[in-house]
Symmetry: C2
Subunit: 127 residues, 2 copies
DNA sequence: CGGTATCCTCAAAGATACTG
DNA sequence: CAGTATCTTTGAGGATACCG
């Protein structure tokens, strides 16, 4: 969605954040990686509705922003793993806040997600 | 963006939240209303870079989603006020999380203003 | 003051096919 | 397995003008 730079675009931190999370997919991708979907094909399945080249593009953008790190293993078959960088981890509270909101509205996950994701827990800003 | 519905799109709450905050402007609009910019022209100024019909469109979408409430006062000159609904207030933690992240990355509130879009580079912000 | 009504552009999103 | 390469579509975002 364009988010082009404007000389005044750093007026508010919200805009800066929007810039990094720009688009339809990045938050949900980030969320899924944080849940352990750290490989391309895993993400392709986990992020329902996305396709290869869209996933590829989003991952690249996240990499470029310093949110993700990509590691290639020269094996046969080739293996690539994605990891959330320290900077990326600082973004998880935002993603988590989104998830909690969405879950609440849809009435999803009454049973609350199994606490596999340790570093997500720091997400409460204020109730 | 598009965020069209898919039968599986409610897989995760994150998606539901993205749907409501869809686009470039909604979080920053919401933030500004929460800060007291509750009128059209105020928002036009506060949300730098936006124009009339874009603001109008975004406000309508937020209204339709139940995030905002619009009140018209039949005066001369006409007055319209926007308020965040209870549902909308539950969204503020998300917006706030965004703002806090963005402020941190840009070093806002610390006089350190314009490294343009270079805030992406500083990967290590915390030890 | 607080909007609409048009029209246009360009990049995001998607479909399809191919590759190291 | 993990992508690229193209091409097409779609609609968000923007410019300009007008209105109750």
């Amino acid at each position: 969605m364009a988010l082009k730079e404007k000389t005044n675009s750093e007026t508010c931190g919200v805009t800066a954040c929007m810039k990094v999370l720009d688009g339809k997919w990045k938050p949900i991708i980030l969320f899924n990686i944080s849940k352990g979907a750290n490989r391309f094909t895993k993400l392709l399945v986990a992020v329902e509705g996305i396709n290869r080249q869209m996933l590829s593009k989003q991952l690249k953008q996240l990499e470029k922003s310093g949110i993700l790190e990509r590691t290639t293993f020269a094996e046969i078959p080739p293996r690539v793993e994605y990891a959330i960088t320290p900077l990326g981890k600082t973004l998880l509270p935002v993603v988590l806040a989104m998830k909690r909101w969405g879950d609440k509205q849809t009435g999803a996950n009454k049973v609350k997600t199994p606490p596999k994701d340790k570093f997500l827990q720091q997400a409460q800003l204020f109730d």
